[in-house]
Symmetry: none
Subunit: 264 residues, 2 copies
């Protein structure tokens, strides 16, 4: 059987809020080492990859590998029935066709269980090569979200340019154009406010702001976001989940000459 206990329901709630707009259905893969998920977004453009390591759970038992197909919207609905500080336990039989969510209030006064039916989902599990990236930028996630939102009012596309000094986000549209530069800055009181750039080679890539803004829904998961860029490789937008794992998004760069005309 599979059983996983998490002291803070809020973590799972935020995780689903961050994924459900991008992905309708996905398989949660359970193994003795982790609970993980990998799925393409609805339009088959972006990839979502999540991992929660078993040692991060208050209790974790997985007798044999399981693949649990879920509708993320329904799962999110279910999780909304848990209070943020509820203790949450996921349970499934090895041969069952359902996943049970158990919510206990911190003081044990209330406990609820919700049972969701599992679905059969075709999933193409993609191998994600472990690449060396030309540029890695760690910055405050709230600032990244704000930049993506602001540029979204100006244009559809953002050009990200990383140099050793900082990262520049540029966009243009009908009403004008905008450049937002965030400087490397490690001289901060709180490490959460730092911007750190690890550069092998300067890089400049364009991405659709629509997806970047969807990724930024994961902001509540972590005070920092990590961007990884390399020429001709998908951008990685990674949110670390405290001591447990991560939620990462992958998005292929836009090629210049398909920008406006939509030609294939």
């Amino acid at each position: 059987m599979f059983e996983a206990r998490l002291d803070q329901a809020v973590l799972l709630k935020k995780l689903l809020e961050a994924m459900k707009d991008l992905v309708n259905d996905a398989n949660f893969e359970c193994s003795p080492s982790a609970l993980s998920l990998q799925a393409m977004d609805t339009s088959h453009v972006a990839l979502v990859a999540m991992q929660l390591r078993s040692d991060g759970f208050a209790h974790f038992r997985c007798d044999r590998n399981l693949s649990m197909g879920m509708n993320l919207n329904n799962m999110s609905k279910c999780l909304k029935c848990a209070a943020n500080d509820d203790i949450i336990t996921l349970k499934a039989e090895d041969t069952g066709d359902s996943l049970t969510f158990l919510f206990e209030s911190a003081n044990q006064e209330r406990h609820s269980d919700f049972e969701l039916k599992l679905m059969d989902i075709d999933s193409e599990q993609l191998g994600i090569p472990d690449t060396e990236y030309s540029a890695t930028v760690k910055m405050p996630s709230g600032e990244f979200q704000r930049i993506a939102k602001d540029l979204g009012t100006i244009g559809d596309t953002v050009l990200m340019s990383v140099t050793k000094d900082g990262i520049k986000f540029s966009s243009s549209g009908d009403i004008g154009s905008a450049n937002i530069t965030v400087r490397q800055n490690t001289n901060v009181k709180d490490q959460e406010d730092a911007t750190v750039i690890d550069l092998q080679e300067p890089v400049s890539l364009s991405f659709a702001l629509k997806y970047i803004n969807s990724f930024a829904k994961a902001t509540p998961l972590s005070p920092q976001v990590i961007l990884r860029l390399s020429k001709d490789l998908p951008l990685v937008v990674e949110y670390r989940i405290q001591d447990m794992g991560h939620l990462s998004f992958y998005l292929a760069p836009k090629v210049d000459d398909e920008d406006e005309m939509g030609e294939e």
Copy 2:
């Protein structure tokens, strides 16, 4: 060239929030002494006049007079990309066709520039005679806004009657009628809460509440509003901008017998 630096972006943000619902496009006039704007509202009924004196800016340079035509909605969109406490700098070349907004976060970690295209706008610069008014009322701007909003639920028109003791706002409509009187009151701990009446002659005038409510969008600019009234002259609704200038609105009184029938 033109260059103006303001330590608090929030001031410009509030200014545009207060004007953009009334005026679509307008020319910002730059001179060595001030940045100013004058425009009729979309329906050509009310007049908006704004002035920010150059000595109120942290830095101000204007080599020659410039008239910069802007779409106020686009300018507002752009300003929404600035944080409230950003330092904001406006820049334009004498011969250019664009205005650049530079935003710097207080800690210099982030800096953004937005470039908006300028427009050609016909503007009839009106001379506003410097009149002696029969009545001048200074009162808390929040109270004025609340009164305009409340009376707007009762009727379309407000009758303002000023006597030496106070100002009475009256309105009536299908569901009934309302009178709200604010007394002169200078005996307050905080000068922002004072109501001061300067009366040459009692006066009673009617105005369309629709415009009054639009003017009240400027409330965040100042804790006090100044109303100036004279028979047969436009009402002036003035918001002082701390040490820098003002945003004023002008609205002609309604003539009694054209109230309901709309006869010309």
